[in-house]
């Protein structure tokens, strides 16, 4: 599997560290309550299709990336900088 890092170009997936669903970018407010944090920390959509993952380019530019990947075929559809996604851009 190769991941097309927006800063470094196409690189071997071994350079990257997988963190989990990109829902982790959207942490609830501190006073959102236990149910919201339970959902944020533990519950996952886990679709058998396209999933937005968080990957960290550990042995490269050390950027956090949001990778849209088809988890039934391992095909990578898009890669964005997590910082851009978080700001609502990209």
């Amino acid at each position: 599997m190769r991941i097309n890092c927006p800063l470094c170009g196409s690189r071997d997936s071994r350079e990257f560290h997988y963190r989990g669903s990109a829902k982790l970018l959207h942490r609830p407010d501190g006073d959102a309550g236990d149910a919201a944090f339970h959902d944020y920390v533990y519950l996952r959509e886990n679709p058998a299709g396209v999933n937005d993952d968080l990957w960290f380019h550990e042995n490269g530019c050390r950027s956090w990336l949001v990778v849209a990947r088809n988890v039934t075929t391992h095909e990578i559809l898009s890669v964005k900088l997590a910082a851009d996604v978080k700001r609502g851009g990209a």
Binding site: D12, H38, N46
Partner: protein
């Protein structure tokens, strides 16, 4: 038909014409007292124990593909109970006891081989941790745990590389009652025994949805029509999120691919199950002679049932670091299974807010050894509505209340290690 040496002898003399199909292939009825979704090890054993222990025989097992075609046919066949934490310890201990009586109970040869399962230690600190784990196993009643020093391990496994510069072997914790079993036979044995007690095993029957009214499950929509049910149990590890979603559940689970490998058949060389935790590598030798080994998750979520090459390389490197003698063996096959990775590494066996709907999921990579225990406690829960004492800590709400059972101490993550 009851299997026995006499039947083998008799059929041997009569051209083996007396053997019959092992289970029926019935059409689904319109209503069952209980429906089990998923015809793998856990689903078939649940159906069997519902019939045997609770007298509930109007039961159907619905399987999308063929019986035993999922993870029960894709694992590395290891049976063990060397867990430490309260919650896991009593459950796997219970499951191992059922393994030990399984062949007589099912009248089926599942080829359980209690050849001993050793976890290696590579530092003084790890030896202390092994001693602690062994003591916990003794307190649980599994007195077969034995802490072995370097010389004892060397005597037992002389072919290991004891002086690896990074992970020299200090000793290990042997679990003598651990071992392997014939994985397909476990599924077939439970299927046959359940069928003989009247359970309908319905293959090529995919569940498409649930009929739920006023908070109670009434039945399931399937590719072979609607089937009514008093109770529904879900044992579809690997696909739990999808089936659960049909019932409106969101689960603390992510699906990951785990690879395993087998070499060509060799003469007997590895007597035990050897687990090299620091290298993420474990190995045993099958009765056919193939070295069966595996390693870590590929570490990203996947439903592909196949892994990628970096993990193949990593596992092969770890194997070579531990036992250089396997270097000339040729790897014959590799495969991947889809693991229900729960967010604390521990399974979930529980009721849900939907009356009559029960879930059994989150087995991570430990589902095979749990097959008899899981079926027994899940049948108990479905039949009586009460938690079995061996599995009363596997509740779904532990993630809300903070009672996770985090055996590896990794925190809330699905990609363990």
């Amino acid at each position: 038909m009851r299997y026995s040496a006499w039947e083998v002898f008799k059929n041997g003399l009569t051209g083996n014409k007396g053997w019959k199909p092992v289970w029926r292939n019935p059409e689904p009825k319109t209503h069952y007292d209980a429906i089990i979704i998923g015809g793998g090890g856990h689903g078939l054993s649940t159906a069997y124990y519902l019939a045997k222990n609770h007298g509930i025989t109007n039961v159907a097992v619905l399987e999308r593909g063929y019986l035993g075609g999922g993870n029960v046919g894709r694992n590395t066949t290891i049976v063990r109970a060397n867990y430490m934490l309260n919650g896991n310890s009593q459950f796997y201990s219970h499951s191992l006891k059922l393994w030990e009586g399984m062949e007589q109970d099912l009248n089926y040869n599942t080829m359980l081989s209690q050849r001993g399962c050793i976890m290696l230690a590579h530092s003084d600190g790890q030896m202390d941790a092994m001693a602690r784990r062994g003591n916990m196993m003794h307190m649980q009643g599994d007195t077969d745990a034995e802490l072995m020093g370097r010389d004892a391990v060397k005597n037992l496994l002389p072919y290991l590389n004891f002086d690896n510069p990074r992970f020299p072997i200090y000793g290990g914790l042997m679990h003598w009652r651990g071992g392997t079993a014939r994985h397909d036979a476990v599924a077939w044995g439970y299927a046959r025994a359940a069928d003989m007690r009247g359970v309908d095993l319905i293959q090529n029957c995919e569940v498409k949805g649930f009929r739920i009214e006023h908070g109670k499950v009434l039945g399931v929509e399937t590719s072979r029509g609607y089937i009514g049910a008093g109770k529904v149990g879900m044992t579809v590890a690997g696909r739990s999120s999808q089936v659960g979603e049909m019932a409106g559940l969101r689960l603390p689970i992510e699906s990951h691919v785990l690879q395993a490998f087998v070499t060509e058949g060799l003469k007997p060389v590895i007597d035990n199950v050897i687990s090299f935790g620091m290298g993420h590598f474990y190995i045993s030798q099958s009765d056919k002679g193939g070295l069966v080994f595996g390693g870590d998750l590929d570490m990203y979520n996947s439903y592909a049932q196949r892994g990628n090459l970096p993990m193949v390389e990593h596992v092969a490197e770890a194997g070579m670091a531990l036992m250089p003698m396997i270097g000339k063996a040729k790897m014959l096959r590799s495969w991947g299974g889809i693991m229900d990775m729960s967010m604390d590494g521990t399974p979930i066996i529980d009721k849900t807010d939907i009356e009559g709907f029960f879930i059994n999921c989150g087995w991570c990579y430990g589902g095979f050894k749990a097959v008899p225990g899981s079926g027994d406690v899940f049948a108990h829960l479905m039949a009586t509505g009460n938690y079995h004492k061996a599995a009363d800590m596997f509740q779904l709400r532990r993630f809300e209340t903070g009672h996770m059972i985090d055996e590896t101490g990794n925190g809330a993550t699905p990609n363990l290690h």
